[in-house]
Each structure stands twice: as structure tokens, then as C-alpha cells.
Amino acid sequence: MYSQKVINLFQHPENVGVLRGANGVGMVVDPVCGDTTKLYILIENDVIVDAKFKVFGCVASIAVAVALTNMIKGMSVKDAYNISDINILSDIDGLPTEKQHCAVLICECLDRAIQDYNKKMEKANDKN
């Protein structure tokens, strides 16, 4: 079933909540089971300085969100954008086959948050 690492991340989740002042927000809804993840990131000088999340979902959805937010804090936006489900899965000692898509979804969620940030920056630049 779940690895001990997944269970630990799930039982004592870090980075939970709404991030006040976030400048990038991404959300995904699992097409099959309806699990919903919302990710908040704060980017300063092309570096993700803080990240938080909210999840309506299973053990795996929560664990991947904790793992990802821990991973991206202090990371450059470019490096964060390149994180793949493989990176997440190896970080949490894997997931059961039927749950592996949770890792794909959290990466998609991060991409959306970064895209949201980029859009906001473009708009701000247009105004200037």
C-alpha cells in the first residue's frame, strides 16, 4: 500500500493553508475521482520563496502536495517548472500504481500556478 514516507507526510502535513500575498495560484481537479488541489506560490526575483496548498483528496493527494511544496521552496521558477511526477514519486518512495497519477496532477497544478504568475507579470508589464 502506501510507503511509510507517504503516511508520515500525510499524518503530519506541512505547508497547509492559504498563502497570503501569493502571486501565483494553480488548481487541478482529478478527472476521475474529483480530488481537488489548490496551490499557492510566492515568487520573488524568479525564485519561489514560499508555497502552500489546500487539498480535498486522498492520502496520496495530500502527501504529494506536501512533498512538492517542500521541494520548490527556495527553487528557481525554471527548475520548479521542470519538476516531473518521477521526481515527486522518487521523493516519497513511490505510490501504489492506481495513485501515481496524483504525482502527475500536482505537477500540473504547479505549472498552472507558474502560468498564473507569468500572466500576472505580463499584465503588469503591459500596464507599465
Partner: protein, 402 residues
Amino acid sequence: MNRIYLDNAATTPMSSEVLNEMMPYFTSAYGNSSSLHGFGREARAALDVARDRIAKGIGCDADEIYFTSGATESNNWAIYGIAYANRNKGSHIITSKIEHPSILKICQKLENEGFRVTYLDVDRQGFVRIDQLLHYIDADTILISIMAANNEVGTIQNLQAIANIAKEKGIIFHTDATQAIGAINLNVHEMGIDSLSMSAHKINGPKGIGALYVRKNVPIVPFVLGGEQESNMRAGTVNVPGIVGFGKAVEIATRDIITNSKKMRQLRDYFINEVQKNIDMVYLNGHPIQRLPNNVSLSFAMVEGESILMLLDSVGIAVSTGSACSSGALEHSHVLRAMQLPLDLAQGTVRFSLGKSTTKADLDYTVAELVKIVAKLRQMSPISRAQVGKMTGGDPKCTVKK
């Protein structure tokens, strides 16, 4: 740590009364019940006693009981065996959308083999739509299979009404009574039930043993071939200790049915009430009264069932999710879907199933832990109160793999 088992719909602990009855048939009276010698006759005699007890428990004759490996085999066999034995009369089968997979899968297989199957809808409380049953019966219908009580949401079907309709139309009626034995009174002859599946481990008996009752004049072809056991109807060396335990378990379950179901009903209703009193936005699935005495299926708004299950597990409480999400398949429970429960509430469904030894203190502890767990998960949830019950499907764009 306290360990509390609230997953008795999955399986039950074996009672010591049952175990004691079984023990000699492992060690001293170990003969093969088909053998002619004394060892064989000894086993055969035990088999006869068990068969009588089970027949008495459900109100049929002993020679109408066939032992199987469990209710899954019984269900598979009943559908397959009755369908093929009656193919000359027709090829239409009627069942419901909320049956156990051991009914649904064999029906799908038969569809591939040229049979026609109608899957009846249920209403929001999980009752099979009798109006649809009447509508879909035609001259070609040979078999109706409706479960006695649902394993996920606990709703007890209007079995007598369905049996009456089948009888009036001259159609064979099978019921999967796996969850109903020991919970509701069943007398197959009186009720006009032609075939019934049952299992020992749901009623404090051993695992790996079950039975199929088939009324005498109902044609059925065998399913497991290769031996003369069970009147040539089910081959394989007979599981004597299992059957002895099964017989005892049925005897106890039917003997104690009134006391047990009354006690469990009280605890069940106490638990539902306590949970709803202490946690808001919790909804009971299935019918509030016409439900299994030990079944509590609750949907917790804004949170997900598997997360509740795992956090309860971390404090020693064993439950199961109403959705199959945790057990391999990600698709939502076919039962909750058939009852048209919104996706988010289906996701937040947990089944608590009480047992003979469940106490009020167990339930108080569970409620106290649930309060903390649901609060913790709701704090984490991006779903707002206004969104509850509105989720119908996910975002298909999310399957893109990097």
C-alpha cells in the same frame, strides 16, 4: 492503543463457539466426507448436521443447500447456472445497478455470450425501482437477481414485493443475501425465493465457505466440474471444518437475531445521532430505518473518505470507504453513483459497520476522534460550504502527462 473494529461488513471475527465446533474436524475427525470408511462417515455426519442447521436458518430443505467457497462463487454460479439451464425459455436477465461485483461481472460475461441483461436503477435511498422491474419484464425474462441488503449503504430491499412479482410472472428469483443473514429474518420457502447466496465469514464464521440455496424444481447447471460432491452439482473435496463452522454460525446468527439486531440498531442510531450532533454537514446514505442493523454509511462534506479512514486507522479505528477509490479502482462506488450522490459527497463517504462486540464506549471514542479528524481535513480542504454537493465531474484536461 485502543483497537476498534468497525468494518464488520468486510469480515467478522470468528466466535469461539464456532471455532470449538470446528476444531475436531481439523485434527481427529479429518476424514473426506466422500470416503466410505468410518473417518469418511464421521465427516459425512457432521456435514449433514451443518446442512440441516443452514436449511433451518433460511427455511428450506437440506437438499436444497449446496456448499461453495463463498458468496462470490455462489453468485457467479447462480447467475451462470440458472441462465444456461433456462436458455431454452429465454435469454433475458434483470438485476440492479447496486449489486455486488460478483453479480455484475458474471452478468457482463453473459451479455458477451448472447444474453440480454437489464440493470435496474435505484432511488436516492438505494431502493431498486420496482416500477422499472415491472416495465422491463418480458416474455424472454428468465431470471431476476436483486440483493437482499446492500453492503455499502445498508438499504434493505423490498424483497417480498420483488419475490411476489417474480412468482406471478413465473420468473426465477435469486437474491444475494450475504449481508442479510443474521440481520433480517429470511424464510425462502415462505417468501418465494428460488435461489439465495450466503457466506460464513460475515456472520462470525470461517472464511472461504459459503452456500447457494436453489429451490428443488429450479433448473441450474453446475459451475465447478470434476467430482460427485454436492449431488454432482459442485465438485471439489468438501471443506468439512469450514462447513461445520458455517452451520454453527448460521445457527447462532438466527438464534440470536432478535437480541443482536435490536442491540446493534440502538448502537447504530446512537452513533449516527452523535456524529451528526457533533459534526455539521454529515449525511446518512441509504434508508434511515429500513437498513441493516449494523450499517452506518456517512458522507462528510468537504473531505475525502480515504483520508478519514487513514487518520482513524492511526488512532486504532478500522473502517472502510464507501468509494472504491482506495481499493484499486479509482472510479467512484457504483452504488453511490447509482443513488445519484454528488461526486464530492461520494468522495467523502465512510462506512462504519458494527459487530456483535461493539460497545457504546467504542463509538464514543470514534466520535471524539472523528470530530478532530474531520476538523483537521476540512481546514485543509479547498472546497467551500457553498460548493458542497455541486461537484459532478472533474477537469478532463488534467490527465496530460509531462
